[in-house]
């Protein structure tokens, strides 16, 4: 018997229609409702279930009560299996996380969740590693590559996955710091990864098939970087899945959202702070391996503040190795990479072109501006 789960963040997206640039935080949600916003996520979730109902009306659908899923499931024609409890009209991020944990424990084949980047972070925090899930886009901010291009595509992709016609792919969960965003600053951070079914055309940020999967590209980049590594030199690995691939090639476990240091194929420091890096630089030569984070293309200063201006100055521009998959560079649309370390002098130092490693023995000249 095929079983799926559905979680709807009913408040996802309500900030967008009323110009609030996001929906995180109870205060924002209250203001959005005051401004006349109405929840749209339940409706979008129902839309995504329609292709699944067409595919198999006897699917067992597990879901939290009322606006967190039950309503959408009924609207699509399924008889829902309701789990857990919520406080209607006052749901929280913890409700999302709790529902994800329960659905995972029940061993459903796939969890669909409707929301935005904030919702994806909650799902990411709650689900066991590599648990199959897929986002139905309903939020204001969608930087994470875990969402289908639209609700209908989410349903179609889910149906294909249940039929064994779509494979799982690791996708990044990214989110903006909303408080900063509302003040006009953009700060995207990597929060982790989810495993989502993948088909060309049906997933956002991966709209066209590429000849090589992103995982393969990252592996090829890692092979190049590892081949060039020198004995006795410490390599500072910035956050990201591409830099993690380098660690994997060395059989070293990498902190996905943190900074680790390897030397001679061994992990010598894990999840370090800027102070720890500066201490380390007193004792040994080092290079930085860094990849741009998120759709804005920040190289330094966003999501990797541990590698601060002082560290960069000590390491030197010539010892910075920039890595990035061709897909990632394409998503940046040839817009320059950005740097904002808080130190104008260091920003100027980094400006100019880097040969970004894009594969084994492959690189692309790419511009960095402050």
């Amino acid at each position: 018997m095929t079983r799926i789960g559905l979680i709807v963040n009913p408040l996802a997206g309500i900030g967008g229609r009323v110009g609030l640039k996001g929906s995180d935080g109870i205060e924002t949600q209250r203001r959005a409702l005051e401004l006349g916003a109405t929840p749209e996520a339940p409706q979008r979730a129902a839309l995504s279930l329609l292709p699944l109902f067409q595919f198999d009306p006897t699917l067992e659908v597990f879901t939290p009560p009322l606006e967190m899923g039950e309503t959408s499931v009924r609207q699509a024609g399924f008889a829902p299996n309701v789990i857990g409890g919520i406080r209607p009209s006052a749901t929280t991020a913890e409700d999302t996380r709790q529902a994800a944990r329960e659905l995972a424990a029940r061993g459903v084949d796939l969890i669909l969740f409707a929301g935005g980047d904030g919702t994806a972070r909650d799902i990411c925090a709650a689900l066991p590693a590599q648990f199959p899930c897929l986002g139905i886009p309903a939020g204001v901010k969608i930087h994470s590559a875990v969402y289908a291009t639209n609700p209908k595509h989410a349903g179609e992709l889910a149906a294909m996955f249940l039929q064994g016609k779509a494979r799982l792919r690791e996708a990044e969960v990214l989110d903006l710091d909303e408080a900063a965003y509302r003040d006009g600053r953009v700060n995207v951070r990597l929060y982790g990864t989810l495993f989502v079914p993948h088909r060309p055309l049906l997933l956002q940020n991966q709209k066209m098939p590429s000849p090589e999967s992103e995982a393969y590209q990252a592996e090829a980049i890692a092979a190049e970087v590892v081949e060039q590594m020198q004995a006795g030199v410490a390599y500072i690995l910035a956050p990201g899945t591409t830099t993690r691939a380098v660690a994997q090639a060395l059989n070293v476990e990498k902190t996905l959202v943190g900074v680790d240091v390897v030397r001679d194929g061994e992990l010598i420091a894990k999840d370090v702070t800027q102070a720890q890096l500066l201490n380390l630089l007193e004792t040994m030569p080092a290079k930085i391996i860094v990849t741009p984070i998120g759709g804005q293309g920040f190289l330094f200063g966003r999501g990797n503040q541990q590698i601060g201006a002082e560290v960069i100055r000590k390491v030197g521009r010539g010892n910075i190795i920039v890595v990035g998959t061709a897909d990632k560079l394409r998503a940046l649309r040839m817009q320059p990479l950005l740097v904002d370390t808080g130190d104008t002098e260091v920003d100027k130092l980094i400006e100019g072109y880097f040969a970004v490693v894009t594969g084994y023995r492959e690189s692309m000249m790419y511009k960095v501006v402050a």
Partner: protein, 529 residues
């Protein structure tokens, strides 16, 4: 009568606008020929030989060395002649191509009419009965064709020497890279020059062939105007630079007027420059590789020079080089001593063979015949009409809702344009690839772009000189109709194609070596477990 005479004057240049072509491919999905095999069926049943023949010949198999005898029968399909014929006749109806439809949608491939008279020449027994091991005195004709074709390509490129040995475009690029490597090695710089520079909008075979030859590849992105970024080149060149491999105009159809500066910069650090002229259709008789300072170049005879595209079978490539690079040309070269044509194998610095023998003779003959039928003025006219056709089509395509031609706003393009449907995608959710599926419903073909898609939602159109104004109008009308559908009824695009043999091809396995199979045996092994 006077009135009628007037009507009979100059023929009307423009035919009436045809309605949209309602096309349908064959409805059946013809099985693979192996699936049609019936054990025991035979195409030919040769009669038992007469007793006298048996007596005279003896058992011919006895004379074969053991090592040449098969241990088991070949695993070929077992079929009657009639069933083989039907199979291929049915397959031929599941097809699109230049002889069937307006083929301007296959941008960068330079799809043009291959005159049938050239095919007739290539199929003449005078050519098909030749064997490459015949004494040279008996193959003077084809050697003369090769020698003279080399001469024409020297004139077209401005280069000092040409080889016709490569079997296709990528092989020609590889030959050029191999010669560049040999050039640096001969100067003692082989170990130092490890990097080859190319550009985002040059054909990916440039980077790929150089990588196969052992080089590291550095790609230059386009600048804001769509030209390769000159500042990036400045940052990329060094004493490690072996060569710049570049196309001009690139796939955007934008001609880089600063190309000489690129060449000079690379020369200043000791690197060589290779001009990818696979598609020279827009510049024939107008610009030459040598005049821009290049050291080597190559042509795809199956693009610019009208020989058939072979889809993995033998096409034909030609490399042109300066006299400095000529010592490294593949072996043998075709030479003429004033009386007879001969092959020169005594080339100590040669890179060796790029493929067996001396080139794909039937295609070399086709290209020779094509050039001879046009003459020098005709070649220039080809380029001019190709550019005119392209700018006419662009003018009409840009009137269509949702499409744009990124970069070089307001400027003319040479022979092709890489368009973007990004606006239409944002407005309707319809992707360029889906437009391509729908184009097939109207009997035409459509292509997006090489990877990665630097231009979002790309479409690349290249109307060569072969297409009439009605053809170009028809293609623009198909795109216009589909764009209207995207805005009014996007579902019809999401579910396209509707008139094809196979509804949609599952691309999921394209990057999975465990899932793809290009032979029947591999298919049996991987997918029929």
């Amino acid at each position: 009568m006077k009135h009628e005479t007037k009507k009979l004057g100059a023929p009307k240049a423009v035919a009436p606008k045809p309605a949209l072509r309602r096309f349908h491919q064959a409805r059946w999905d013809e099985p693979i020929i192996f699936e049609l095999s019936v054990a025991g069926q035979r195409g030919v049943l040769p009669p038992e030989p007469e007793a006298a023949v048996v007596e005279a010949a003896g058992d011919v198999f006895d004379n074969l060395p053991e090592s040449l005898k098969r241990k088991s029968a070949p695993a070929l399909p077992e079929m009657s002649q009639l069933h083989v014929l039907r199979h291929y006749a049915r397959l031929s109806q599941e097809n699109l191509g230049v002889d069937l439809n307006v083929d301007v949608g296959q941008g960068t491939c330079t799809m043009k009419y291959s005159p049938k008279v050239n095919d007739q020449l290539a199929r003449s027994h005078k050519l098909t009965d030749l064997h490459p091991l015949q004494p040279l005195s008996t193959v003077q004709g084809i050697l003369e064709v090769m020698y003279k074709l080399e001469g024409m390509l020297k004139e077209i490129s401005g280069m000092d020497h040409v080889t016709l040995q490569p079997g296709a475009g990528s092989a020609a690029i590889y030959a050029n890279v191999a010669m560049i490597r040999a050039y640096h090695e001969a100067r003692g710089e082989g170990g130092q020059r490890t990097e080859v520079i190319t550009t985002s909008f040059s054909h990916p075979s440039n980077g790929a062939a150089a990588k196969v030859a052992g080089y590291k590849i550095i790609t230059l992105p386009p600048d804001a105007d769509g030209y390769p970024d000159f500042e990036a080149l400045k940052a990329a060149v060094s004493e490690r630079t072996a060569a710049l491999l570049i196309t001009n105009p690139e796939d955007t159809g934008i001609f880089n007027p600063r190309i000489e500066e690129f060449v000079n910069l690379v020369h200043s650090v000791g690197g060589l420059c290779s001009y990818d002229q696979a598609n020279a259709n827009g510049i024939l008789g107008i610009t030459r590789a040598r005049d821009a300072g290049f050291d080597v170049c190559h042509f795809n005879l199956h693009k610019t020079f009208s020989t058939p595209h072979a889809c993995g079978g033998p096409a034909a490539g030609a490399c042109g080089v300066t006299k400095e690079v000529a010592p490294f040309l593949p072996t043998p070269t075709v030479e003429f001593d004033g009386e007879k044509y001969y092959l020169d194998f005594n080339r100590p610095q040669s890179v060796g063979k790029i493929r067996p023998w001396y080139g794909v003779a039937p295609n070399l003959l086709r290209a020779y015949a094509w050039i001879m039928s046009l003459g020098a003025d005709g070649l220039r006219e080809v380029a001019e009409i190709a550019a005119l056709n392209n700018n006419y089509l662009m003018h009409n395509v840009l009137k269509i809702r949702g499409v744009s031609a990124p970069y070089a706003k307001g400027k003319r393009r040479v022979e092709q344009v890489r368009y973007s449907w990004e606006q239409l995608t944002n407005d309707t959710g319809v992707h360029s690839e889906e437009i391509g599926f729908r184009v097939a419903d109207f009997g035409s073909h459509y292509w997006l772009s090489h990877h990665p898609f630097v231009v979002p939602e790309p479409m690349t159109l290249e109307p060569t000189e072969s297409y009439s104004r009605e053809d170009l109008d028809e293609y623009a009308r198909i795109l216009n109709h589909i764009a209207e559908e995207a805005y009014t009824n996007p579902e019809i695009l999401h579910t396209a194609p509707h008139n094809s043999t196979i509804h949609k091809i599952d691309q999921e396995s394209f990057d999975d070596p465990d899932a793809w199979a290009v032979t029947w045996r591999a298919y049996q092994r991987k997918l029929k477990k």
